[in-house]
Symmetry: C2
Subunit: 219 residues, 2 copies
DNA sequence: TAGATTGTTAATCGATTAACAATC
DNA sequence: TAGATTGTTAATCGATTAACAATC
């Protein structure tokens, strides 16, 4: 049974973080199925693929109102469409890249070609060798001294930091003052994702290595 | 009150994954304190730094037998030592790098200089331009066709994949057959960490971007 | 209609937090 | 001794799983 209108909007009922984090994985599996011409899928089939339970799949989808049909299952195209709507919506988020070294260039390629729902507005570096160069995506690298002015005028949604931790600490206040609320920080091989001061995701490469080491040694 | 000997060993009482994942973060904060000459710390001070509760800090440490002194708190040097023992132990884990492109080189630098408890044994690539070149850490890039033989002879603990997803799918069976059990997969900007077929950590860069997008749009 | 499978509520499980006795 | 702070057990909270009525 469908929830009533008031609760059907994604905003109305607060969706828990574990559910949100599963959405992209659902999306990838369902996109695969759609590409392979699969028309229909059941919660138990999805569960098997995702490595979870049918209960959780249904529970998850029902946070957003329920996309299936009782007795039938889920139509792959409907599912894909609904989840894409949730994840990407109409307007893409504007991003600026700070640091155009090895890692920065790799990420800029990903951001401008593969990541959906994002738009790379501009890129910055402090090195005179980098400034003025054009990235593969066509964006020209600017002097990082322009960063503050640029952000004040163009209010990007997120900043992607691909610079050493020390440099990141210097840049952060500039971004905050310019009103930028979102960060992806790849400094020192961290992947941390913050928004409005709250850490959404924080994967320190070193932390992952240490944790794995512990588990392997104590197997 | 200390647990009895049987339960004090890390192996005896099965430690939950959330606890293990917090260990490296504790380690970093405690290393910072140690470097700054801090001698003593309480669970509530640690909790404030970690963004958690004093209860959790004590609960966590007591999974390993408890490192503190009632009425006093924790000695920073003891804490650092105990956690380092847990995370790094005596023997480092042997790693091989597969793919020495932009990302591979960045990771190799990290692995050989900053990551503790790991040793980079060898690096492989399929490009003739790469084969024979020496990485900054001194390791010479080998032809990936040697990978299987190398693994059979030297049985590395983990393989670090810095190659596209398609290439990774071709390499995986080779590694499995050669008895390699651990993987860090950076293919397509994923960071996934597997051991014996079990995913320890799985951070798809694209997934993080999508999740953040959802949250920002539904704020 | 009978079978299948969802939507949704209830039960379980595990992790976090609170409380307090032990003790430095 | 009194104050502080741990170790440890108990209470709470939230997420996952199970169960089942609704319904295609």
């Amino acid at each position: 049974m469908k929830k009533d209108m008031a609760e059907q909007t994604p905003n109305g009922n607060k969706v828990s973080l574990p559910v949100i984090k599963r959405l992209p994985k659902y999306y990838r599996y369902i996109l695969d199925m759609y590409s392979n011409g699969v028309v229909k899928v059941s919660s138990s089939e999805l569960a098997r693929m995702m490595g979870t339970t049918a209960s959780q799949v249904r529970q998850d989808f029902n946070c957003f109102g329920g996309f299936g049909q009782q007795g039938i299952g889920y139509h792959v195209d409907v599912l894909l469409d609904e989840i894409a709507k949730l994840l990407f919506s109409a307007n893409s988020l504007n991003a600026v890249l700070i640091g155009t070294g090895r890692l920065g260039r790799a990420i800029s390629g990903y951001l401008s070609s593969e990541a959906r729902g994002y738009h790379l507005m501009a890129a910055f570096d402090k090195s005179p060798d980098e400034i003025g160069k054009k990235l593969q995506c066509g964006v020209v690298v600017q002097n990082v001294s322009n960063l503050s002015d640029f952000c004040v005028q163009n209010h990007p949604d997120v900043a992607v930091l691909c610079i050493p931790r020390s440099a990141a600490q210097a840049v952060a206040p500039v971004l905050v003052e310019a009103g930028v609320k979102g960060y992806w920080n790849f400094s020192h091989y961290d992947l941390s994702v913050d928004y409005e001061g709250v850490t959404v995701e924080n994967v320190h490469l070193g932390d992952s290595l240490m944790s794995l080491g512990y588990r392997v040694r104590n197997l």
